[in-house]
């Protein structure tokens, strides 16, 4: 990382000393100004109500005056502390403020759990649009049932490596507002207990904020559980689940409708070279790079960063979802995942790669198709290759 020029820092300092503090992390003045504003907003909103009580002066006038001054001082101290955390120590802003907006939702963020990314937000929106259109056409109803019948059966979604729960919660928020009379059933799994508890907290928090629709009849529609998706027990538990739709939300029960995952996908080399400093220093490696031991155990023939996809496709064979969306690191990884998917025992009728911004027009020099064996797979949108989308007939 190039050194910041002293004159540049001086210029920032002339505007505000906080900006100069933030500069090492933000690298340019405008984003430093933005971040400072967000920090200020955060501090003033979090400090606002708590301050009337701890003031004990005699006269009412001095009481309020002292309160005002104290509040101002507290605010400044807080802002200074947060700016130092962000700028000097390089902590991600999302951990400093404790949250990241994700669609309509506000997702709590804590060390140990990956911060939701804007690219993820973009593909979740795209997926929700796509699913809505499919529902509108009536193609997602129960096999053999007519369109009205889908009121009886909730849309089943499984999110593996759910982390903060952002994908599951946003899908729930986007789809449920659109599924009149119907419902969604979402199950999220993560190996990290801190992630599972944070995801549960996020569910409760966004329910309180009334961004998420209330569950019907007291039944929880979004459930997060701790599970190691590489363990044989877990895989076996999928097999043993009865495929009975009346079993309710507690059982997974194939076939499901949508299968999503944002697994760790960065290679060892990529982790050392391509990741941001604050990502390396503060975000969990577990959520970014597949552990070496996994490869040795069962998937010796694929690249170490692709281990998760091999497993996810195995799980997909059992759960028999109609849609699969897997986030990947780049177009090359997307191609490798597609090659694995082609070898699946039952064929996928649609395969696509979505770039970072699936709704945008592709730029010049961005391929709109990749070749997998003899197949041509369309690549949609603009940006890096970001997700692999698979669809199977109803």
């Amino acid at each position: 990382m190039p050194r910041l020029r002293p004159s540049f820092i001086r210029r920032a300092h002339n505007i505000s000393s906080h900006l100069a503090t933030l500069l090492p992390a933000c690298r340019d003045l405008r984003s430093a100004q933005n971040e400072l504003r967000w920090i200020r907003e955060h501090v003033s909103s979090s400090l606002a109500p708590a301050h009337e009580h701890n003031v004990t002066s005699r006269s009412c006038v001095t009481k309020t005056a002292v309160a005002v001054i104290k509040k101002h001082l507290d605010t400044e101290v807080q802002i200074d502390r947060l700016c130092r955390l962000r700028g000097t120590r390089g902590v991600p802003l999302q951990y400093v403020l404790g949250s990241q907006p994700f669609g309509d939702l506000d997702i709590r963020c804590r060390p140990g759990v990956l911060i939701p990314r804007p690219e993820t937000e973009a593909w979740v929106f795209h997926l929700a649009d796509l699913v809505r259109n499919v529902i509108a056409e009536g193609a997602l109803s129960r096999p053999g049932g007519d369109v009205d019948d889908r009121t009886a059966r909730p849309l089943k979604i499984v999110d593996l490596c759910s982390g903060s729960g952002c994908i599951a919660l946003l899908l729930s928020s986007l789809l449920r507002s659109h599924l009149r009379g119907s419902d969604v059933d979402i199950r999220g799994f993560d190996v990290e207990p801190r992630a599972v508890s944070l995801a549960k907290e996020n569910l409760a928090y966004n329910l309180r904020r009334r961004v998420l629709p209330r569950p019907r009849a007291g039944r929880q529609n979004v459930v997060f559980e701790k599970a190691d998706i590489f363990s044989e027990d877990w895989l076996a538990s999928l097999h043993h689940d009865p495929a009975d739709p009346n079993a309710g939300g507690s059982k997974l029960g194939a076939p499901i409708d949508i299968f999503v995952s944002n697994p760790p996908y960065i290679s060892m080399r990529g982790y050392d070279c391509d990741t941001g400093r604050s990502v390396r220093n503060y975000e969990p490696r577990l959520a970014l790079v597949p552990h070496e031991s996994l490869r040795i155990s069962s998937f010796a023939d694929c690249a170490p960063e692709d281990v998760f996809y091999a497993r996810l496709l195995e799980v997909a064979e059992i759960l028999r979802p109609k849609f699969v969306v897997l986030e990947v690191g780049d177009l090359a990884q997307a191609t490798r995942v597609l090659e694995m998917a082609v070898r699946a025992p039952r064929p996928w009728i649609t395969m696509e790669v979505w770039r970072d911004w699936p709704d945008m027009a592709p730029e010049e020099g961005e391929d709109q198709v990749v070749r997998i064996g003899g197949l041509q797979v369309p690549v949609r949108g603009s940006g890096h290759g970001r997700t692999v989308f698979l669809q199977r007939g109803a």
Binding site: L29, P92, D104, R117, P118, V279, G329, D359
Partner: protein, 432 residues
């Protein structure tokens, strides 16, 4: 006393003059005349008869379309009724003046003067009711503030104008929302009021009818003051552009749903014509980096209007704000185009007075501590209060609004007269 020098006598005379003349200077325009022109009265009567006819029709058979029309016309009909009743009471009182009873005559005289005064306001109300209502009048609005060409001073003053409106909103209890606040890099806040060099700011006022409140504010706001950067103490003149755009009411389902998707609506924007661009990170993206910003730029390709937004941490909200702003800008542009056509058709002398963002509308003169509105001709002092969005700003804005109504009445008059002239010509032709 009689030996007072003539200089002083002049001053004494000046003191004797009514005070209001000094404060209220009718510089560029006259107040709308109070006695009602005949053409307007004729038009009002026509509308009233139509109103009566339609409302009797409504009694026998209900029809939503007719009911709506009646609602539109009732304003005029009611105003006309009041004016006519005042008119008839004047006639009555005038006959009473001939009365032999001294006391009665006195009473009639008193009553008559008050009724006359009342008649003026009624006539004004009647002509106001005749002017077409602004199509956006009931909408919330966006205020866009940008420095005019040239220099940092304009940028600093733009910040002052931005604060002025924000404080005005909080004083008046209007719900205002900063959509965008962008300052120029690398220059510190300065001056006693610590103004920042503003690049562009957008203030959203969410209350219904905010467009009507602020529509008179659109235009160039000129400032004359000594900038704090100025070493030799010269007065600089610079300008700030304020645009007032109609915006959509939030949660107003029937309005939004209709207007967004209705191609005839001013707010309709074909998504295919809009190019969406996002800020691209240099690196690998995804899990590799944790960006905090999510800038978005929308460009409406046929017109080249472009909007960029990055103020919020939420990319979702940035996108929504950008769309709101783009829709409003395009609506204003379409509307200007429509009005342009209308004005061209009318080919009226008034067309030169149409307010667009190009015209200088107000001057803030710091050294004289004075704010002048060039349209209403109102001068107010205490510029600090104006810039704090205080009582004086309210006065100025009200005078502007009155002026706008006056303009509308004049335009209406010109239109009616032209129509009458054409009708007369036709009549002449048919006689021959």
């Amino acid at each position: 006393m009689f030996r007072t020098p003539w200089v002083c006598r002049g001053r004494i005379k000046a003191l004797a003059r009514p005070l209001s003349r000094q404060v209220l200077r009718s510089a560029s325009t006259d107040a709308p005349s109070s006695n009602l022109p005949l053409v307007l009265l004729q038009r009002a009567r026509n509308i009233a008869t139509e109103h009566d006819r339609l409302s009797t029709a409504l009694e026998t058979e209900f029809d939503t379309k007719t009911a709506k029309r009646v609602g539109e016309l009732s304003r005029v009909a009611a105003a006309l009724k009041e004016w006519e009743s005042a008119q008839s009471s004047i006639a009555e009182l005038t006959t009473l003046l001939q009365s032999k009873d001294e006391e009665l005559r006195q009473l009639a005289q008193d009553e008559l003067s008050s009724t006359h005064a009342n008649l003026d306001t009624l006539a004004n109300a009647l002509s106001t009711s005749l002017t077409p209502r602004d199509p956006f009048a009931d909408m919330p609005c966006l205020l866009e503030i940008r420095p005019g060409p040239g220099g940092m001073e304009g940028r600093y003053f733009a910040d002052a104008v931005f604060r002025m409106y924000r404080q005005y909103c909080s004083r008046m209890g209007l719900r205002a929302n900063v959509l965008k606040y962008e300052v120029v890099d690398g220059d510190e806040a300065m001056g006693a009021s610590s103004e920042s060099p503003l690049q562009e700011a957008v203030l959203e006022v969410l209350d219904a009818g905010a467009y009507d409140t602020f529509r008179g504010e659109a235009g160039m706001h000129r400032v004359q003051r000594i900038p704090s950067t100025e070493k030799s103490g010269r007065v600089h003149t610079s300008a700030v552009a304020v645009w007032v755009l109609p915006s959509f009411p939030e949660n107003d389902s029937d309005m939004t749903a209709q207007n967004f998707n209705d191609p005839d609506s001013l707010f309709y924007v074909d998504p295919k014509e809009v190019k969406v661009e996002k800020m691209r990170a240099g690196g690998a993206g995804g899990q590799h980096v944790n960006k905090t910003e999510s800038a978005i730029r929308l460009t409406h390709e046929p017109t080249g209007i472009s909007v960029s937004m990055q103020d919020s941490r939420s990319q979702h909200q940035n996108r929504d704000s950008a769309w709101t702003l783009l829709r409003s800008r395009l609506a204003q542009k379409k509307r200007e185009a429509r009005e342009e056509e209308a004005w061209a058709l009318r080919n009226s002398v008034l067309s030169k007075d149409k307010i667009t963002r190009g015209d200088k509308i107000r001057t803030y003169n710091y050294s004289q501590d004075r704010c002048t509105d060039h349209r209403s001709g109102l001068d107010v002092h205490n510029i600090a209060d104006v810039l704090a969005g205080g009582e004086n700003l309210v006065k100025v804005m009200e005078s502007t609004k009155e002026w706008l109504v006056g303009r509308a009445i004049e335009a209406l008059l010109a239109e009616e007269e032209a129509a009458a002239a054409i009708a007369a010509k036709e009549a002449k032709k048919s006689k021959r």
